[in-house]
């Protein structure tokens, strides 16, 4: 029964390919016209249906019995195409994001708002990265490669690393300000952070180096206290938090999948 459908959706040789592609485009445009004229009371159910079917694919693939020999069921082979489909759809929104950038900064430049030259710098940087990035892939040219190297390895990677490293400064000011014995909670937070810090660095370890390496008193060495906090208290607390997050995530997924979710976006008349 599925044979003719499968044959219709199979890969096509170059001679007929343009017709199929054009046909698909025309059909899609036709469908959009149908959608535009859809009565408004049918819209929400249609969106709910699309959402449900998309979720149903992954749910069925997970719950449907598998063939023990191959560890697959009838949908498993479609997982890869499905993830490609997801990436492609998600990727297509990038244009909307870039349009937002262009709109904000284009307006800055057009109206010569304060700092308009920064917006120019942004656009120049963007255009050069696109130009040389694509040349790097599609047109090998030594000069272009060098420029791309300066833009990517020289600038982008180093800027990433620099912003990341700023956290070192912020961690100092945050711990200086927040770790005060103001309340029980703040005190607990401070004491454990302090102990763990001691356990992290050689200087701290030297403090309890006089304690034996083995035996009962060894557990009082700072590095062992640190290890105990991490492996016992930390692991258990994080697992408990994770269980809650797991159930919460499952609940919100169910609500969205079955269109039970509420809020301005979901309840709006369309």
């Amino acid at each position: 029964m599925f044979e003719p459908i499968a044959r219709f959706f199979s890969a096509k040789p170059p001679e007929v390919l343009p017709y199929y592609v054009a046909g698909a485009v025309l059909f899609s445009i036709l469908m959009i016209f149908v959608l535009i004229n859809l009565p408004s009371r049918a819209r929400k159910p249609l969106i709910a249906l699309v959402t449900f079917l998309a979720g149903l694919f992954y749910a069925t693939e997970f719950f449907f019995p598998i063939d023990r020999a191959t560890n697959k069921n009838f949908l498993t082979d479609y997982l890869v195409p499905a993830s490609k489909l997801g990436s492609l759809l998600g990727g297509m929104t990038l244009t909307l994001g870039i349009l937002s950038l262009l709109r904000v900064h284009g307006r800055n430049i057009a109206r010569l708002r304060a700092g308009w030259y920064n917006s120019v710098a942004l656009l120049v940087a963007m255009v050069s990265m696109v130009t040389f990035g694509l040349m790097d892939k599609y047109g090998a040219n030594d000069g272009a490669k060098k420029v791309f190297n300066v833009l990517f390895e020289g600038m982008l990677i180093n800027m990433d690393a620099t912003m990341f490293s700023l956290i070192a400064f912020y961690i100092v000011s945050a711990s200086y300000r927040a770790f005060r014995i103001r309340s029980i909670e703040a005190t607990i937070l401070m004491v454990t952070a302090f102990l763990v810090m001691l356990g992290q660095v050689p200087v701290g370890n030297a403090l309890t180096d006089w304690l034996p390496q083995d035996g009962t008193f060894a557990s009082l060495r700072v590095e062992n206290i640190k290890q105990w906090i991490l492996s016992q208290v930390n692991a258990a607390a994080l697992r408990a938090i994770a269980f809650g997050l797991g159930v919460g995530g499952l609940a919100i997924s169910l609500r969205i999948w079955l269109s039970l979710e509420r809020g301005a976006y979901f309840e709006k008349e369309i």
């Binding site: 899609s28 959009i32 800027m159 763990v196 810090m197 208290v233």
Partner: protein, 219 residues
């Protein structure tokens, strides 16, 4: 001066990197014109790179190659479906954009079952900790038993903190939740303490980049 120019031409990426590093670092003093300039350059470069990635790693391999090189014409439908996103700016047909959005939501929600099973179920059995533990040679290991008991107490009290719909009337539940919150603070303090090391290593790397790679003052 000539030597400087030659050096710049020989290592343009290092010089560019050093200037960018210094430019962004000025933020720790305060937001200023130099930072603002480099921030915009950074965002521009990043946006440009995202476009390059989109073309190289999504549109080319998932759309152009399959359709025009392998003849898998049906991907055209996906592209056309994705175009519905752009109706978001239309006053009248705005709702059409909800179709691909709903589709992606469904995709994301549908994966939750496998995600839950993979992430949390294996942890469940690993939480079954015996309170009586023997060492490999058969003797009683009291410390391990106590550790397991502590593990259980922490697990249960922290979970009790996250019950939202039970009124915390009974003192047991209230105290358990309070204790759970304190234990969480221990965990958070520990995370804070361990993270400092990694962040300091990053700053050290930046300084090494400036003083060694760029200025060559340190080997």
């Amino acid at each position: 001066m000539d030597a400087l120019w030659q050096d710049i031409l020989a290592r343009p990426a290092i010089y560019a990197g050093a200037i960018c590093t210094l430019g962004l670092m000025t933020l720790i003093y305060r937001e200023n014109a130099v930072y603002r300039f480099f921030e915009h350059v950074f965002i521009g470069l990043a946006a440009g790179f995202s476009i390059v990635v989109l073309i190289k790693e999504i549109l080319d391999p998932f759309l152009y190659q399959p359709v025009f090189k392998k003849g898998e014409w049906y991907w055209t439908f996906v592209f056309m479906f994705g175009l519905l996103f752009y109706f978001i700016h239309s006053r009248k047909y705005n709702w059409l954009s909800r179709l691909p959005i709903g589709f992606l939501m469904g995709f994301s929600a549908g994966q939750a079952f496998q995600g839950f099973a993979n992430t949390y179920l294996p942890q469940l059995a690993r939480s079954f900790r015996p309170l009586f533990v023997t060492t490999p040679d058969g003797s009683w290991d009291a410390a391990a038993g106590i550790n397991n008991l502590i593990f259980m107490i922490v697990l249960v009290t922290v979970m009790s903190y996250f019950f939202f719909s039970f009124e915390q009337k009974s003192r047991v539940i209230r105290n358990s939740a309070q204790f759970g919150r304190w234990v969480m603070m221990v965990a958070f303090g520990a995370i804070f303490g361990t993270t400092i090391m990694a962040r300091m290593a990053l700053l050290f790397d930046r300084m090494y980049f400036l003083f060694s790679d760029w200025l060559r003052l340190v080997r």
